[in-house]
């Protein structure tokens, strides 16, 4: 007899009631089990082997209804199975030959249902090669024979447990690849998959391993920017990073108008080529160039005067990109640096507990560091979002939100980095708690504003 508890558990398992944002974390075994259930389900209807069911389901992206629709449309079951290459269209007569046609050695010959034969060594080498390529459905070795070898026979050909295990991984992988509502967690060493009830756009997933990723594109969480623009942005960052590096390595900004200037000669006399500026300065000290005639010069001059407007335009466009890129990458760098802060805070919390504070009383610090990195994370992607945003009223509201969040985040960061050792703990605690709460609210407000904008289509994007 089952106990009440078991009954209850079984009940909750068989009918998983998903909430809107509920997700299920699946280990390798869970995925295999899910496949098995779907296979058994189909087997009840089709009455063919589980291996054939798996191949058919894979062909129809594990959509049983679509598969069955097609099955009932076909004239008869056998031709349906032949068309799907799971039954041989014709089976060649068994040859009496002892020599394998593939390796030309004598041996025990075997083969799938089509009766194309080879020795077991050749079959093993063949399926191993296909598994290495990640193929989940392996056709017969004979050219133009499209019969798919049954899973159990593939395993028989492989023969060793390690090989069979990698074949099973390939099968589960192919299942996950075509399942719209299941994705592998991209976290390092996390071998779990995440299943959602409804795949929705740019949905942020937090795996129990701590990895935060976007369900749609697999990148880390990237609110408020959507997957399409994120893709564009990342491509641009890749493409332009060389330009960016070159500018950093080879130019300095004019001390007066901040236009980037390349020093292409040995002379340290510089004159800004920006027509509105024309500032003359020394490359070395950035001071105004007063001592005329003291150097023989070879200053950088743009020769192509006709192309100036184009050049200016492209410079403005590059400057604009760099403005956002610098801030985007700046927050990313801060995020990395703040990993160290986490360690420092952990030590500080220990210290405080030794100084008569309780565990509960020091938790605010832990919480504050987490809030801080969430804000940095959000801020980082607000700059990618802003890069594509056209400036109009709504965009200005967004910028005000962004500005407010950024300032508050920097203040919080300041409290945690600088004031931690200096201030009275009671005042610090008050300040940190107030500020964390504030930034958390502001972060939420900013994202809500962005999401509402998406829903109501108010954002105007530059392509």
């Amino acid at each position: 007899m089952e106990t009440d508890e078991e009954l209850f558990m079984e009940d909750s398992d068989s009918e998983p009631e998903f909430l809107e944002d509920e997700l299920q974390v699946m280990k390798f075994e869970d995925l295999e089990e899910e496949m098995k259930v779907a296979i058994a389900d189909l087997q009840d209807v089709l009455e063919v082997s589980p291996d054939i069911c798996r191949v058919l389901l894979q062909k129809f992206k594990w959509n049983k209804d679509a598969l069955l629709d097609r099955f009932y449309e076909s004239s008869d079951a056998v031709s349906f199975l032949i068309d799907a290459h799971v039954l041989p269209s014709r089976s060649v007569s068994e040859s009496e030959e002892e020599e394998c046609q593939i390796c030309c050695m004598e041996g025990r010959l075997t083969g799938p249902a089509c009766n194309h034969k080879a020795c077991t060594e050749c079959w093993k080498a063949y399926v191993t090669e296909k598994i290495k390529e990640g193929q989940s459905e392996i056709e017969c070795m004979t050219s133009n024979c499209k019969l798919i070898i049954e899973d159990s026979q593939v395993e028989q050909f492989i023969g060793d447990p390690i090989g069979i295990a990698s074949y099973r991984r390939v099968l589960v992988n192919s299942f996950v690849r075509v399942s719209k509502n299941i994705k592998w967690c991209p976290g390092e060493n996390c071998l779990k998959a995440v299943k959602v009830h409804q795949p929705s756009d740019s949905r942020l997933i937090v795996c129990p391993c701590g990895t935060r990723f976007c369900f749609t594109c697999g990148n880390e969480g990237h609110e408020p920017i959507d997957c399409n623009y994120l893709k564009k942005w990342l491509k641009r960052c890749m493409d332009d990073s060389e330009t960016f590096n070159w500018i950093h390595a080879n130019t300095k900004d004019c001390p007066k108008c901040s236009a980037p200037i390349e020093k292409n000669g040995g002379c340290n006399y510089m004159r800004c080529e920006n027509t509105a500026c024309r500032y003359e300065f020394c490359w070395m000290c950035f001071g105004a160039w007063k001592n005329e005639g003291a150097h023989s010069c070879n200053t950088f001059r743009e020769k192509n005067a006709g192309g100036k407007t184009d050049r200016e335009k492209s410079r403005v466009s590059l400057e604009r990109y760099l403005f956002y890129y610098n801030r985007y990458i700046g927050h990313e760098r801060s995020l990395k640096l703040e990993k160290k802060l986490k360690e420092k805070i952990a030590r500080k919390m220990e210290e405080m507990q030794q100084l008569s504070m309780t565990w509960v009383e020091v938790q605010f610090l832990q919480k504050a560091v987490e809030v801080l990195s969430e804000c940095r994370h959000t801020l980082k992607y607000t700059y990618a979002f802003a890069f594509y945003l056209k400036r109009e009223n709504n965009a200005m509201m967004f910028e005000a939100n962004q500005n407010d969040l950024e300032q508050a985040t920097e203040q919080l960061s300041g409290f945690l980095e600088r004031d931690l050792d200096r201030e009275n703990l009671i005042t610090l605690r008050q300040k940190v708690q107030d500020k964390s709460r504030y930034v958390e609210q502001r972060r939420k407000a900013l994202l809500d504003h962005c999401n509402e904008g998406n829903d109501e289509n108010i954002w105007v994007f530059n392509e």
Partner: protein
């Protein structure tokens, strides 16, 4: 009529091959023996003196093609995984063909995903010969050549003939 045997005396190649054959898989030995003893018309394939997995190949341009009258040198290499993996084949002679690029790489399905261990060096070379007779600009490797082939076939064929005359003479 041009004969290929003048370039690689088969007897000579055979002597060398037998000396190297001891460590080779039996399949490669058998294929090589058959290629030497019973060559495909218009194709010669001879193993290299120092590497029995490397073949010097010559294909005569098919009569019904713009490559007629030309002799095209190719190299063919059997990787370690052969026959589970396809041979690697490349044109050494410059050729104006939509499915063969500047580096001589060939766009042919049986050399890629349609490879089957049941295919052989012989079948691969026959397919390449057939590709010379029937260029397929719909599945191009050299996009510029394919474009020309589609928009102005007469001009493309003229260029192909020209290149055959300039580069593919024995």
């Amino acid at each position: 009529m041009f004969t290929l045997s003048a370039h690689f005396p088969p007897v000579f190649a055979h002597v060398h091959f037998c000396r190297m054959a001891s460590q080779l898989p039996r399949r490669i030995i058998k294929e090589t023996q058959r290629l030497l003893a019973d060559p495909v018309p218009g194709i010669s394939a001879n193993p290299d003196e120092s590497n029995a997995r490397y073949f010097h190949v010559m294909i005569a341009g098919p009569d019904d093609s713009p490559f007629a009258g030309g002799v095209f040198k190719l190299e063919l290499f059997l990787p370690e995984e052969y026959p589970m993996a396809a041979p690697k084949v490349r044109f050494m002679t410059k050729i104006y063909h939509p499915n063969i690029d500047k580096l001589g790489r060939i766009c042919l399905d049986i050399l890629k995903d349609k490879w089957s261990p049941a295919l052989q060096i012989r079948t691969v070379l026959l397919s390449i010969q057939a590709l010379l007779s029937a260029p397929n600009p719909e599945d191009p490797l050299a996009t510029d050549v394919a474009e020309q082939w589609k928009t102005n076939e007469a001009e493309a064929i003229k260029t192909a003939k020209q290149w055959t005359l300039s580069y593919a003479q024995a």
